[in-house]
Amino acid sequence: MSLLLIQVLNGVQYGLLLFLVASGLTLIFGIMGVINLAHGSFYMMGAYLAFSLAQLVGNLWLAILIGIPLSVAIGLTLELLLFRQLYRRDHLYQVLLTYGLILIMEEVRSLLVGDDVHGIAIPALFDFSIRLTDTLSYPVYRLLMSAICLATAGLMALVIRRTRLGMTIRAGANNPEMVELLGIDIGLVYRIVFAAGVALAAFAGMIAAPVASIYPGMGNQILIVSFVVVVIGGIGSIEGAFLGSLLIGLADTFGQVLAPQIAGMTIYMLMAAVLLWRPAGLFGRA
C-alpha cells in the first residue's frame, strides 16, 4: 500500500472522529443558536465515563452501553437547569455560562477521578494490527472506530432526512417561530437535540478512549478543531460538518507531512480559504 494512501486513511479516520463531536456542536449552534464552549468537556466526560465504567463492569462495550443513556440524562439535566436560560439571550451570556461550565466540569473530574493520565485497553477482539508495509501496521481498532463513526453518520442522515423528528429539526433550524406557530413544541425539539449533541460528543470520547489517552483538559483541543469544522461546513448543517470534518482531517494530516513548519496553521488556513470563497461555510445559507 502506498504511503499516500495510508496518509489518506489517517486523515479520513481522524476526520470521522471529529465528525461525531462537530455534528453535535453544529446542531446545538444551528438550531438553538447556542455557542456551546463546553462541548469539548462532554467529549472528555465521555472518555472518563468509559474509563470509570469499564473499571466497574470490566468491559468497554458494556461501559459504552451504560455511558450513552447516562450522557443523555446529563444532557437533559444540563438543558433543564442551564441551557434553557440561554436560548433567547445574547451570545455573551452563552459564552460566559458555557466557559464556566468547562471549569466546573474540569473540577468535578478532578474531584471524582483525579488528575492522573489514564488509558483503557483496546477490547481483546480488536487488539491486533493489519500489516500495511514491511514496517508499518494499522491498528484494527482504528478501522473499527471509523466504521462506527460512518454508521453513526448514516443513522443521523436517516433520522434527519426521513423522519418526522428530522423534519421538525430541519424546520426549527430555519424558522423556529414558524414551527411554534404550527403547534409543534419547539422546546421538546431543543431538548432532544441538546441531549443528542451531548451524547454524540460523549460517545466520541468513549470510542476514542482506548487510542487517545484520557487526561485533564483533553476536550479543549478537540473543541477548537470542532468549531473550525462547524464554521467550514456551515452552521447547523450536518452535511457540512461531515465534509468539513473530512477536509480538516486530511488538511491536518497532510499539513504535518508536507509542511511541518506550519502544521499548526494548516487547518486555520483552510478555514480562511473556505470563508473567502463561501462566507457562510460550504453548506451554510448566507
Partner: protein
Amino acid sequence: MTIRHSRRRVLTGIAAGVGTATLSTILPARFAIGQTAKVKLGLMLPYTGTYAALGKNIDDAMRLAIAEGGGKLGGRDVEYAVVDDESEPAKATENATKLVARDKVDILIGTVHSGVAAAMVKVANDNNALLIIPNAGVGAATGPLCAPNIFRTSFSNWQPAFAMGKVAAERGQKRAVAISWDYAAGKESIGGFKEAFEAGGGKLESELYLPFPQVEFQALLTQIASLKPDVVYTFFAGGGAVSFVKDYFAAGLRKTIPLVGPGFLTDGTLQAQGEAAQGLETTLHYADGLDIPKDKAFRAAFKAAVNREADVYAVQGYDTGQLLVAGLGAVKGDVGARDALVAAMEKTTIDSPRGKFALSKAHNPIQDIYLRKVEGLENKYVSIAAKALADPARGCKMA
C-alpha cells in the same frame, strides 16, 4: 523628657506602619530580637491541573527535608506563602511578583512548567530575589538567564537527552529520527540528543514536530515507518506520552525500530500505557531500584509521611529542602547575607536519593544520568548512561 517621648512616638509609628515582617528584612535576622523572625518561603507550584500531583509531591518532600533538618532553617522557624501557579504562563509574572513584592518572601521556590519557570526567573532577576527551581528543565534558567540568585535542583532538558544520544551512538545506531511537540522543551531535548548522537558518529536525519498539545500521531508515525531509521528519539510527557507510546506500539513499529527518550516518556504514565511501554528504555537522573541507601531511607520516610510512593518529583522537592537546610544553616538563617548564602549553597554537596551531586557554576546539578528500562510498573535502573554530567550552560556568564 519631651524629646524622649516624641522619639518613642515616632518609633512606634514606624513600627506600626511598616510592620514586623519588613523590620526583619531591614535588620539582619541574626540580630533580630531573640531570633524570632521567621524565614518566609514563597512556594509557587501547580496545585491544580495536569501537574497537580507533581506540585504536591515537590511540596510535601521539601517540607519533609526541612522537618528532618529539625523543622527550622538556620535556627529560624519557617513560614510559607503558597500560590497555585496553575501551570499558566500568562499568570506567572503576576503570581511571582505578588510573592516577592507583596508577601516579601525571603526565597522563591518553583515550579514544574517551563514557561512559568521562565517568567519566575525574569521576576527573580528583576527583583534580585533568590529562586530555587525544583523541576522545570528550561535550558535558559541555567543558561543565558543564569544569575547568582537562580538555583535549580532538578535537571536541564539537555542532560537526559544528551545521555540518550550517547547511549544510542555507543550502540552503533547510525540513523535517527526525532519527534516531539513544536515547543521549547521538545526542541531543547532533541538538540541535546542530536549533539551527543552526532558526536558519536550517528546522524539525526529528520526532526518531526506536531503542534502542542495535539495527540493525533498517525500521520507522523506513517512518516517514521517510511523513513526506517535505526532509532526513534521522542520527547513527550503526560497524555501525549501515553498516546504516543500506545500508538507507536499499535503501529507495529516497536518490532523493527527501537523507541527511546528522556524519562518523562514513562514516568507516572506506566499504568495508562500498559503493555505498550514494557521494555522501553529511557534516561533520567532518577530510577527505580537504585542501590543507594539514602534513596531507600527517603522512600520509606516519604511513604510514612504522606502515604504515597515517592517519585522523581518528590526527590527534586526533597533536594530543594536539603539545599535550603544546608545554605541557611551555613549563614545561621541570615537571608540578608546574600553573598554568603549563595556561596554556601554553591558549595553544598547534596546527599540526594538520586545519588550525591554538586552544583555547576551555573547552579544546575552535575549528576549521573541513568539508563532505565520499563519492567511492570517500574523504570528499573540498568546502568549509568552518563557519569557526572554537567549542562554546558551555553550563554551563561557565570560558567
